[in-house]
């Protein structure tokens, strides 16, 4: 029996949501906030006895959460998950409260329930102890709004703290030296996922970096244990790759779950095919069994190789953990991945009349680097529209745009720039070598008109790529709803 406090908390959340809806407002965090006020242990109670997966890290959380959710659903599970961005205590609590009904209904009909919860990397330390996840996935650690979170080493400490308050099996990115370090002291329950070193190497050789005048600012070139520069035999992007330290011997762990791929085809193209692999633990005399499955990448871009294998790894591990090896077999999870659709701002292509736009949310240097690479490789790119705001939710400091290697990227012919910091972004693009004539820069107040112009300039059958940061994406979304009558189905 739950306490009176618990029921009061749930009831309060419902009242708050009803009130917010009356005024036409979204209710993704406030109901949970109120519930936590009434019952500080509410999330713990909501999650007790349930099978939860948490996803944390600096980049790829939303996409990976989305993929995991869709895989479980495709495998016949009822899934409760949080709305993108609502990943603090309040948001996670809100999602769990309003998922109660569906969970109870599913349980009655004998359907199994999984909670897939995206958690903010800085908040993870405090909320993991309440969620008590069975599987905890860490995506990566890249510099992200340092003015808000402080340094990366600190963010990792917060995640470590969270991991130590639960008994979850931990899935770590083998190619991220900062993330894989979380393995220490948690050896028995850690598994790795990553890209196959052979593929990485092959692609580094076939397609060497187009180097700019300066390499992009990197986050982890030196060993955190002995301060020696890492040697890389192959790299994927940023500081991700096959690293090793010549002094203390620290080295990348071979991942159980890995991706084999071939960049001879363009990962910016839809339908790019990669091979997902599961090198299962040894069975008595059989040695390691490698299961392999070809899948079409559901959401394009090389960074989604990581998100894809991470998502499949999380689902397979959960299956092993809860004894549904059959229903959540590697083959089933990998196949289910193909049916995942992009979330708003995550590479979704949207038709506007006979034109196409594609929105790529960029919040930090590595995200912008990936997005620019993606656009440079997209054969249908006919314009790029970049929006930069500096509200608190974005980070007040926009200097990070200078950390990104724009210099080696090819820009589409037409470059549109807006957002509150349109001047900073115009200058950034200009300094990378794009002629001033090719850049149209307008203040935030004119961003809607500029969007009209960019869409109208764009050729039929081609795509306008839009790269907003967080609050400019929210503004863009409401412009698309109001001006282009797109249904706001992303909430």
């Amino acid at each position: 029996m739950q306490s009176l406090r618990y029921h009061t908390a749930i009831a309060s959340a419902k009242v708050v949501r009803a009130a917010l809806r009356l005024f036409g407002r979204g209710a993704t965090t406030l109901p949970g906030k109120v519930a936590v006020k009434v019952d500080p242990k509410i999330l713990q109670k909501l999650c007790a006895g349930r099978d939860c997966v948490t996803i944390t890290g600096t980049n790829g959380k939303t996409t990976t959460t989305h993929m995991i959710t869709d895989i479980f659903r495709n495998c016949g599970y009822e899934v409760v998950t949080n709305v993108s961005g609502a990943n603090l205590l309040s948001g996670v609590t809100t999602s769990m409260i309003f998922g109660l009904k569906a969970m109870k209904k599913a349980e009655k009909s004998g359907k199994k329930v999984i909670c897939v919860l995206e958690t903010d990397e800085a908040a993870y330390g405090k909320i993991a102890c309440q969620i008590k996840p069975k599987v905890s996935l860490v995506t990566n650690l890249f510099r992200d709004q340092l003015d808000r979170f402080g340094e990366l080493a600190h963010t990792r400490e917060l995640i470590a703290k969270g991991l130590d308050t639960c008994e979850a099996d931990i899935l770590l990115n083998s190619d991220d030296s900062l993330v894989s370090e979380l393995y220490k002291g948690r050896e028995g329950r850690t598994l790795f996922y990553g890209l196959s070193e052979e593929s990485m190497h092959y692609n580094n050789v076939t397609y060497p970096d187009k180097s700019g005048v300066l390499p992009a600012s990197s986050d982890a070139e030196y060993c955190t244990s002995c301060k020696t520069k890492y040697t890389y035999t192959a790299r994927s992007f940023g500081h991700l790759g096959a690293f090793s330290c010549s002094k203390c011997g620290k080295t990348r762990h071979a991942p159980r779950f890995y991706v084999e791929y071939d960049l001879a085809k363009n990962p910016s193209d839809e339908g790019y095919e990669l091979t997902l692999c599961d090198g299962k633990e040894k069975k008595e005399d059989a040695g390691t069994v490698h299961l392999k499955q070809k899948v079409k990448l559901p959401i394009p871009g090389m960074h989604n190789f990581y998100n894809s294998i991470a998502a499949v790894a999380a689902c397979v591990r959960m299956g092993e953990k809860i004894g549904d090896n059959e229903g959540l077999s590697f083959e089933k999870c990998a196949s289910a991945l193909e049916h995942v659709e992009a979330a708003f701002g995550r590479m979704e292509k949207i038709a506007i009349g006979d034109k196409t736009i594609c929105v790529l949310l960029v919040k930090n240097p590595v995200g912008l680097d990936r997005a620019l690479s993606f656009v440079a490789g997209a054969s249908d790119a006919d314009g790029i529209y970049m929006l930069l705001n500096s509200n608190i939710a974005d980070g007040k400091d926009v200097s990070w745009i200078w950390d990104v290697d724009f210099e080696s990227k090819t820009f589409p012919e037409k470059v549109y720039v807006s957002g509150d910091r349109y001047g900073d972004m115009m200058l950034r693009v200009l300094y990378s070598g794009v002629d001033r004539e090719r850049i149209i820069a307008k203040p935030m107040e004119e961003c809607a008109e500029l969007l009209d112009q960019a869409i109208s300039d764009s050729a039929v059958g081609k795509c306008l790529y839009i790269l907003p940061n967080y609050t400019s994406m929210l503004a863009l979304r409401s412009i698309l709803v109001k001006r282009y009558h797109l249904k706001d189905f992303w909430k």
């Binding site: 520069k229 900073d424 115009m426 950034r428 200009l430 001033r436």
Partner: protein
């Protein structure tokens, strides 16, 4: 025809000190030199790399996260230290931002009182405190006003060539000794220590500031000032830096001012 001029930039520890867009400062030096037909040679100098002042005209030293600054400390203070000090005494042009600024000083005192020995090339010291200064900043540097007297806008206005714009993000408070001059007066922001109303430091041809932002893209006249110093040192006092417009940087600056005026109240 005049012979082609060359500028040799030393980017110190680019793989470790590369925080908050410091890379943009190097891009600015390169751009405003190349647009003037000056050939640029950029050399990264990191841990265990040789630093020889004869190889360079200008040295850039940025800031890093604590972990990274700890990695370079020994190499910078003990190995390269004597050569860096000599270069500074010989008038080599330096631009040092935030962590780089602090490391040129005598010491950095942590919150708990522990003193971390720094290079001691310039007479400043820094004390770490809890409250971080994080904000857009405006400063005024008189040397830029006299240098750009012809194009001067009204003193104390946005068009004043002395105006410098930046973004500060530091918890260290830096105090200047007698042989060091502040780089600029603070108009908006905290500056060196939030108390004396000054920002940055100048010693010989060494320019230090807390301003990220990046600093030089926002302040083309400052970029030109450093280029002029470096090229005059190399090619003689008669060397004249060819004129180059600042209309694109001015456009960005106007956008920034417009944004500041509007106020930033959104969450």
């Amino acid at each position: 025809m005049e012979s082609e001029k060359e500028l040799r930039i030393c980017h110190m520890y680019p793989d470790l000190l590369n925080l908050y867009g410091d890379r943009g400062n190097v891009l600015s030096l390169i751009r405003r030199a190349e647009l003037r037909g000056i050939k640029v040679k950029l050399v990264p100098v990191s841990i265990d790399d040789e630093f020889d002042e004869n190889d360079f005209d200008i040295v850039f030293l940025g800031g890093g996260q604590d972990a990274e600054q700890n990695v370079i400390r020994k190499d910078f203070v003990e190995v390269k230290g004597p050569k860096v000090k000599a270069a500074i005494e010989n008038g080599m042009v330096f631009l040092c931002i935030c962590g780089g600024y602090q490391m040129l000083g005598k010491y950095y005192q942590e919150h708990d009182g522990t003193k971390i020995e720094c290079l001691g090339a310039i007479d400043v010291y820094t004390v770490g405190e809890d409250v971080r200064y994080i904000q857009d900043t405006i400063y005024e540097a008189d040397f830029l006003r006299s240098e750009n007297a012809l194009s001067a806008g009204k003193e104390g206005t946005a068009s004043d060539p002395a105006r410098l714009y930046g973004f500060e993000n530091h918890s260290g408070r830096t105090y200047l000794g007698e042989s060091v001059k502040p780089m600029a007066k603070v108009i908006e922001g905290a500056g060196n220590n939030g108390k004396d109303g000054y920002e940055g430091a100048i010693y010989n041809n060494v320019y230090c500031t807390y301003s990220h932002g990046s600093f030089l893209p926002k302040n083309p006249l400052m970029t030109d000032h450093l280029l002029r110093l470096a090229l005059k040192r190399r090619y003689g006092e008669d060397y004249e830096l060819p004129p180059l417009g600042t209309e694109n940087e001015d456009f960005a600056r106007e956008a920034l001012l417009r944004y500041k005026e509007k106020g930033n109240t959104a969450p």
